[in-house]
Homo-oligomer: 150 residues x 2
């Protein structure tokens, strides 16, 4: 993991749609060298996948942020909760937290009503959820999954 890797990965996090040649010019490598590095990232699991980013606003959808505190915190309870989050398509993101709350969940739904339904289904009905707080998102100021490569 040298400086070339960092620059390349940083570039890929920003825009993975460029050609190998373009990427090569940006970091100072030939297309084939770039390609071999990317293959290595993929093989090592460092580069998980490539995804298309859609404009949520243009689709008329809404986002909600939900903070969740569990009642009991056993390993099994956590596993079950996580599994449910992973299995629900409207759950865009879910993080297990340290601190006052146990989970942060980001929901992407078509409207408010669907959010309420989901809240009911995922949190209200689960008697291991002690309390949860739902906040609608006014505006997605910045989105992305880019990790700091310092």
């Amino acid at each position: 993991m040298d400086d070339l890797d960092r620059r390349l990965l940083d570039q890929l996090q920003r825009d993975a749609g460029q050609t190998l040649h373009e990427l090569g010019e940006l970091v100072g490598l030939s297309a084939s060298a770039v390609q071999r590095r990317i293959t290595r990232y993929r093989a090592s699991g460092l580069l998980t996948r490539e995804i298309a980013v859609l404009d949520a606003a243009k689709l008329g959808g809404m986002l909600f942020v939900v903070l969740v505190a569990l009642e009991r915190e056993s390993h099994e309870h956590h596993r079950r909760f996580a599994e449910r989050m992973r299995g629900t398509p409207e759950v865009q993101q879910c993080y297990e937290l340290a601190g006052r709350w146990d989970y942060l969940v980001v929901l992407s739904t078509s409207d408010m009503a669907r959010c309420r339904e989901l809240g009911d289904e995922l949190f209200q009905r689960d008697d291991n959820v002690q309390r949860y707080e739902t906040m609608p998102v006014f505006d997605a100021v910045k989105t992305g999954l880019a990790v700091s490569l310092s």
Copy 2:
């Protein structure tokens, strides 16, 4: 925006690395038809960009969730705050919220110390930030930017 579009976009949100032919098989179109639709998504701004997703854990980085409440809520104050978030590379995501908190910020840093520095720089020093609460992320249960296409 028909059913084919929804299935195609859904697929692209999950994995944009497939060939047009593969995508075509999944939704029942030829490669060229798939391509023409994707070109349309791009032109209309619906498809913003394609990005590589890296495994944060494999890079040894940490994630933090920060909830922020502002002191004064004028348009200008919001604009300034948002601009600062957009301009900070370690700010992975930032959402303006309705409810008890004004912003949710996701930070990606190399370590705890850097998070503290950032918190200081971005929130502590800003006298329009009334209060903020930082929570380290134990585990990224689910990540992505996939929007519900109902």
